[in-house]
Amino acid sequence: MSNSGTTSSPNNFWKENKGFVFIFPWLVGFLVFKGYPFLSSLIYSFSDYSLFEGISKWGIFNYIEVFTNKKIQTGFIITFKYAFMTVPLKLIFALFVAYILNFKIKGVKMFRTVYYIPSILGSSVAIAVLWKAIFKDDGIINMLLGFFGIAGPHWLSNKTAALFIICLLRVWQFGSTMVIFLAALKGVSPDLYEAASLDGAGKWRQFFTITVPMITPVIFYNLVTQLVQAFQEFNGPYIITAGGPRGATTLVSLLIYNNAFKKYAMGLASSQAWVLFIILMIFTAILQYSQKHWVYYSDEEA
């Protein structure tokens, strides 16, 4: 960086490294609560570590199990389904609402707040319980459908419906994604719109040829974070459906939990977690690689 290596006095050393003092608390927290479990789970994943029986052998048998066990594979397939259903729906919905809230409407600040509220509630247990109450057989949804003479499905016990309502819970919590989109939309220069409307472009045309390309970096960011989050979804399926009916909502995260805390098979659970991690890394890498084809950085060429 500089030539401080040769001329450093104690005073200089302090100046250059005092940043460490500030991040020290975080660093300790990271190493103890993330770094250590992260590494130890990697080590455990090569053992048959059971919570109550300890470790008796080492090898890659857990990974073989992950790739051959039908139940685990189903878990991964369901997780993919869940992620690929939730993420696009959520992004489209969030962008749509952000676009509307970007107009100068009366009371827009209130709307922004209202739409953000579900996200504050986050992955709280109470919301999951509420969801269950809404979608149970004689819950609000089926009551409303009943008014129109439609017999609603068993949302919680029908295989397809159950996965769908869990997706819906996450889509509903689109607030933080929306806020990020909103910030990006505000950053698009009005000059561009003005020029476009002078050329006679309608709102749709403007949206797809100006707005979307201009905010691709933010779309990219949201896509990656949401994908990562979706792959790790746990609370919804755990509380609302407990992985049922018939395992239809048993995402990998749930399977990991079950293996770890119901069967006490820590080794197997760790290896599943690592496979999930690697899958996430691959997806992120693919997205990273692909961004040069579709993500536009305005500072690209001056």
């Binding site: 992260f38 109550f52 300890g54 109450a133 407990a242 749930l254 659970a269 961004q291």
Partner: protein, 460 residues
């Protein structure tokens, strides 16, 4: 240059996101305690235990008193009675402070297992009977009750104490025993113009009548997947006169067991029990929280006598639950009967003697009257005398326990409720019963899966 920076920044952000979150996931899988071996040797348990002891002692010396942690699961009425009992105990023993941890049954096993694996379980805790085998297979993971001089174990029948003993260690107080009993909602049956059923023939006949007179949503009996397993056991033991498990094996041939599954299917086909799809769709964790049970749409249950109170309490005012006769259509009734629960003391506790004193108060002493029958009919002789003297030994729980005890010729295997079989998300019972209810799998196939699953657990 600037564009590179932006890219790297975006990439870095995304990557750190993945790292951070995955590590978060990892932390739940990898417990910090590596000392969770099957043999909690001195060395292995030493570090956290010593720390806990030191901490507890600081608390004790600072305030001049002892803090005990206690945990249990149950329904509201049990929580209230236990909390009241503990308040009375603390009032009578000013030097002792008791901290309570309690909740509903669902998820409780996960919680306690994690605590035990991390050597952070409470000083004394309610334990399911089969947990002794699951968590302390060699008999050393829980404190030996007979070594705690402050607790009077002689108040219990030796046969019960034997059921709590592994390798000569008494791992818990056998609080009570309990059996599965049929209960019927008299009000609903009357609405259908029926007497409460006395036999399987009555039960099977009631299904279509309910459907016709009361409507599609009314069923004479409600049974979740574990209840179905109990019903199957009951039917098999009655019809074939054989104990469910003998010599570590399921004691029936595939053909015999397939007959049992045919029987369960006939219950569903005759509108006696709701399908599992319907029951799950109700959106309730258990029957006492299920609106259809509360308002009488489901007019019968097969339940432990020790937990019937929470079902009765849950019912609407105009509903009335009565004890049913054991159906004897196929032979001599043989219900499922077991030690309902125990209370264990942690070997890591710094205050084992104080814990034992509290146990003595709860189950042999003055606490008995406050607790009443909240944990079933107490097995302690002293407790029974006390309750008899105050006239508390009556009512549904007591009567049900009496009739269950009288119709339990067979013993239950401690592995009957092993998590691998009973767990409501992962267990074999729910999987097999759901295969039956959702997919109508062939009875012989179901029988074979059940035999395989049970034998695997038994041979562990």
């Amino acid at each position: 240059m600037k564009k590179m920076m932006t890219k790297i920044l975006a990439g870095g952000l995304a990557a750190s996101m993945v790292m951070g979150l995955a590590a978060c996931g990892g932390s739940t899988k990898a417990p910090e305690t590596t000392a969770a071996g099957a043999e909690p040797t001195e060395a292995a348990g030493a570090e956290p235990t010593e720390a806990a002891k030191a901490a507890a002692e600081t608390v004790a010396s600072a305030n001049g008193d002892v803090t005990l942690r206690i945990s249990w699961w149950g329904g509201d009425s049990r929580h209230n009675a236990t909390l009241k009992m503990l308040d009375e105990y603390m009032a009578a023993n000013p030097g002792i402070k008791v901290e309570s941890e309690y909740g509903a049954w669902s998820g409780w096993q996960d919680k306690i297992a994690t605590q035990i694996a991390g050597n952070s379980e409470p000083d004394l805790f309610q334990t399911n009977w089969n947990w002794l085998w699951q968590f302390s297979a060699d008999g050393t993971r829980f404190a030996d009750i007979k070594e705690l001089s402050d607790f009077d174990l002689s108040q219990y029948d030796q046969s019960l104490v034997d059921l709590m003993t592994i390798n000569g260690h008494v791992l818990g107080v056998p609080v009570s025993s309990t059996g599965r009993v049929f209960y019927w909602n008299k009000a609903t049956f009357e609405k259908a113009g029926l007497e409460v059923p006395k036999s399987f023939a009555d039960i099977l006949a009631a299904g279509p009548i309910f459907q016709e007179k009361l409507g599609e949503d009314y069923y004479p009996l409600a049974a979740g997947t574990y209840d179905l397993t109990i019903l199957l056991t009951y039917y098999m033991q009655e019809k074939y006169g054989k104990q469910w498990i003998e010599n570590g094996e399921l004691n029936y041939t595939v053909d015999e067991l397939a007959d049992g599954f045919d029987f369960l299917k006939s219950l569903e086909d005759n509108h006696v029990i709701p399908t599992q799809e319907k029951l799950t769709g109700d959106g309730a964790d258990s029957l006492d929280k299920n609106p259809n049970f509360i308002d009488g749409h489901y007019a019968g249950v097969v339940e432990w006598d020790s937990s019937i109170k929470k079902l009765v309490d849950a019912l609407d005012d105009e509903q009335e639950l009565v004890i049913g006769e054991y159906p004897a259509d196929y032979g001599t009734p043989a219900t499922v009967y077991k030690v309902s629960m125990g209370f264990a003391v942690s070997p890591n506790s710094a205050h084992k003697e104080e814990a034992a004193k509290l146990l003595e108060y709860m189950f042999n002493g003055d606490g008995v009257e406050t607790l009443g029958l909240e944990r079933g009919v107490p097995a302690s002789h002293k407790a029974q005398e006390k309750l008899e003297a105050t006239g508390a030994l009556e009512g549904l729980t007591y009567e049900a326990n009496k009739t269950a005890a009288a119709h339990a010729p067979f013993q239950l295997s401690p592995y009957y409720e092993d998590a691998a079989l009973k767990d409501d998300a992962e267990g074999a019972y729910q999987e097999i019963m759901n295969d039956m209810s959702y997919d109508d799998v062939d009875s012989k196939e179901l029988a074979q899966s059940l035999i395989d699953a049970v034998n695997e657990v038994e041979s562990k």
